[in-house]
Symmetry: C2
Subunit: 387 residues, 2 copies
C-alpha cells in the first residue's frame, strides 16, 4: 500500500480528520431532523457501532433550530448538511454544530457567503465542500456570474486528460474545477478549515476526480460514492471505489451511502477499513466458503459464530473452517479457530490444536475460548477497541 497522503488536518468537534488521524467512519441520519427524539435515538445506535461523526440534513429553519437539542444528547460530533440557504447555515452554527457541509458556490451572493464563513471561522467550525456529479454548477457558454465565470476559467486551465480536445472538458474536469472554485471562495476569505468530497455513482469517475484533486490541494478528503444503491450492491460499489483510493493513501474520512439502515453504513465503513488494516473494530471473521469437501455445515456455523461475536469488544481474528485437516493451517494467522468434521470439532489457536470437542458442543466451546482470550488480553492490558 502507498503511504498515506499527508493532509492538513481539521477538527470536527474533538475528532481529528486528516493528517495522521485514524480514518474516520461517518454516517447520516435518516430521521426527520425536526424530530429530536427519533434523531437522537438513531445517532445513539450508531455511536454503539463505532460511528465517529454523524451528519444530519437541515431542510428548513425548524430543523436548524433542533440541532442544539440533538447535539446536547449525543456523544459524537454533529455535521449540519445544508443546501443553498445561508440563514440555515448561520442558525446551525448558532446551535453549536461541529461542522458544516455546504457548497459556498450555491449561496451565490458573495456577501452572504462571507457572513457564513466568518461565523464558522469565529467558532473554528470547519466546512466540508461536497461536490456531487449530479449537481455541478454550469460551466462553458453560460458563465455570466462572478463565481461561474471564474469556474469557467478554471476548468479551461486544468491540464487536459488525454481524450479531451482543446476547449473540451470531461465530467472529471468539471468536478475538479468545481471543487477548486468552491475552495477559492473560502480561501479568499482567509478560511482554511476545509474538507472536500467529490462524489459520483460511477467509480472510475469518482476515483479519477479524487486522485487529481489529492495532488492539487492540501485539505483532508471525505470519500464516498453517491447514491451507491441497496445494502449489498451499494457496499460492493463503495468498497471498490473507496478501497482503491485508500490503497493509494488517499482519504481521511469515509461514508458509505446505502439505501438501508444507517447501521449498515457504519458496519460497511469499518469493513472497508478493516480489509486494508486501516482500522480495527470488533472480531474479524475468517470463514471457509464451504465446498464438496466439507462434512459439516460450515456456512451455517460461520453465520452463527458471526452473530455471536458481532458485539464483542475485542479485535481478535476468529476462523471458522470446514476441514479438520487443512483448516488450522489455512487459518494459522487467526487468534482462534474452529474446524469441524466427522461429528467432532477441533479448536486451535494460531494454527495449533488446543482442544477436541463433540460437534454438538463446538459453538459453546469456541465462545468459551474466545472469552478466555479476551480475559487474557484484559489481564495483559492489550484489549483493543477502535471506537
Amino acid at each position: 500500500m502507498t503511504n498515506r497522503r499527508v493532509s492538513k488536518p481539521v477538527y470536527v468537534g474533538d475528532v481529528k480528520v486528516g493528517g495522521d488521524a485514524p480514518i474516520t467512519v461517518q454516517s447520516m441520519t435518516k430521521t426527520d431532523t425536526r424530530d429530536v427524539a427519533a434523531t437522537v435515538a438513531q445517532i445513539k445506535g450508531l455511536e454503539e457501532l463505532g460511528c465517529d461523526i454523524i451528519r444530519s440534513a437541515v431542510p428548513d429553519m425548524e430543523a436548524a433550530k433542533a440541532l442544539g437539542a440533538i447535539k446536547r444528547q449525543i456523544n459524537i460530533p454533529l455535521i449540519a448538511d445544508i443546501h443553498f440557504h445561508y440563514q440555515l447555515a448561520l442558525e446551525a452554527l448558532n446551535q453549536g454544530i461541529d461542522c458544516l457541509r455546504l457548497n459556498p458556490g450555491n449561496i451565490r451572493d458573495p456577501e452572504r457567503v462571507k457572513e457564513v464563513v466568518l461565523a464558522a471561522k469565529e467558532r473554528d467550525v470547519p466546512i466540508r465542500i461536497g461536490v456531487n456529479f449530479g449537481s455541478l454548477p454550469p460551466v462553458g457558454g453560460i458563465g455570466q456570474t462572478r463565481g461561474f465565470s471564474r469556474l469557467f476559467d478554471m476548468v479551461n486551465r486544468l491540464p487536459k486528460a488525454g481524450h479531451a480536445a482543446e476547449g473540451e472538458y470531461s465530467i472529471v474536469d468539471h468536478m475538479v474545477a468545481t471543487a477548486l472554485w468552491e475552495i477559492s471562495l473560502l480561501e479568499e476569505l482567509d478560511f482554511d478549515l476545509i474538507k472536500i468530497s467529490l462524489k459520483a455513482f460511477d467509480v472510475p469517475t469518482t476515483v479519477e476526480a479524487y486522485e487529481r484533486l489529492a495532488k492539487m490541494v492540501p485539505y483532508p478528503l471525505h470519500l464516498g460514492i453517491t447514491e451507491a444503491g441497496t445494502v449489498q450492491s451499494g457496499s460492493i460499489r463503495t468498497a471498490v471505489g473507496l478501497g482503491h483510493l485508500l490503497y493509494q493513501g488517499i482519504g481521511d474520512t469515509i461514508r458509505v451511502s446505502l439505501s438501508g439502515d444507517s447501521k449498515e453504513e457504519v458496519t460497511a465503513g469499518y469493513d472497508i477499513l478493516k480489509s486494508l488494516n486501516l482500522r480495527e473494530k470488533g472480531v474479524t471473521l475468517v470463514a471457509c466458503p464451504s465446498c464438496g469437501r466439507a462434512d459439516i455445515d460450515v456456512v451455517k456455523l460461520a453465520n452463527e459464530v458471526d452473530a455471536l461475536v458481532k458485539s464483542l469488544d475485542t479485535t481478535i481474528k476468529v476462523a471458522v473452517m470446514g476441514c479438520e485437516v487443512n483448516g488450522p493451517g489455512e487459518s494459522k494467522d487467526a487468534d482462534i479457530g474452529i474446524a469441524g468434521g466427522n461429528g467432532r470439532a477441533i479448536i486451535f489457536r494460531k494454527g495449533v490444536k488446543t482442544k477436541v470437542v463433540p460437534e454438538a458442543e463446538m459453538l459453546t466451546a469456541l465462545m468459551a475460548e474466545i472469552q478466555a482470550i479476551m480475559a487474557e488480553q484484559e489481564a495483559e492490558g492489550t484489549t483493543a477497541s477502535a471506537s
Copy 2:
C-alpha cells in the same frame, strides 16, 4: 483505469479466459459432489444468475466418477478442484471436465505429475495453479526434495522487497516463488494452458502477490480473496482487493468466496465488475440513501424496486430518489428514474420528467416505464444481456 494486462488466453470448455475475453465470474458448488442431482440443481441456479464457470471439489474417487454425469446436465464449463491425488485428476479428465484446479507441486512424484499433465495436454484441458497463503510448501532450511529445493532457490532469487534483509523473505515472496515453481513444473513438460491464483485473506498481501506475478508471467489470473467471510463482510473485503487489481487492469476471471449461498458469490462477482464497468448484468440501481430531507420512505422504495427489477433481462440504469427537486438532476445519467414527495412521484428519463403519478401508483408506473424501455430496446435490437 489502467489498460488491461494482456494475458495468453486459455479456453475452459468454450469460455475464453484471458486475452481480450470478458472477465468471467466463477463460483463453486457447496453440495456433496457425489450427489449428482443436488450438485446439478445448484449449478442450474447459478447458470441463471450468469455464472460463467463452475468448480466442484473432488475429495474422493466416487466424487471424481460423478463429474461426467454432472457435466452432461449443465451448460457451463466444469472445473474439478483436486488436492494431492493424481488418480482423482486422471479420473476427472476421463470424465470430461473442462479444467483442473491442481497444484502440481503437491503431487510430489515427478512421474505422476507428468502423467496428469500429459493427460490434460492430450485433451487441451487447462490447469489452474491455486496458490493459497494457508497451504504454502516449506521453503528455507528444509528444501531436501527436488521440487522444494528449487523453490528455495527461487524464493532467494526474487527481487527483495525493501523491508527484507538478505536471506529473508516475506509471505508475498513465498507466494510468488511458489507460483513460479508450480508453473515451472508444468512448463518443463511443455504445458502452457495455465491459469494462476494467489489468494490470501489479507488484502494487501493478496494484491501485492498478484501485482508482482502479473509482471513476471504471461498467464491469465484468477482473482480471489480466500476465506473472505460471511456475505456482507466477505463481499466488501473481496471488492476492495479485487477492485484494486481490476482497476489496474489485472485479472481475467474472479471468484468471490463467501460463507453463504453460492448465488451470493455470483451476484457479488457481477457487482464488483459492474462497479468498474467491466461487465454488464441486469439492472443497475442508483438509489438515494435517504436523509432528513426525504419525504417518502426512499429506502423502502429502493428495496422494493430492487426486488422487482432483479430478474429483468435488461442492463438499464434505474434511479430511485427521495427528492423531487434534486432527484432527476442528480441521477441524470440513469435511463429511468423515480423521485417522490408530497403524495406524488415524478418519473423521469435521462433526467427529463416524463410523468407525474400519485404515490400509491408510483411503483406500478415505474415498472410500466421500465417495460416500455425494454420493449423499445427489443425493437431496436439493443437488448443487452451479459450472461
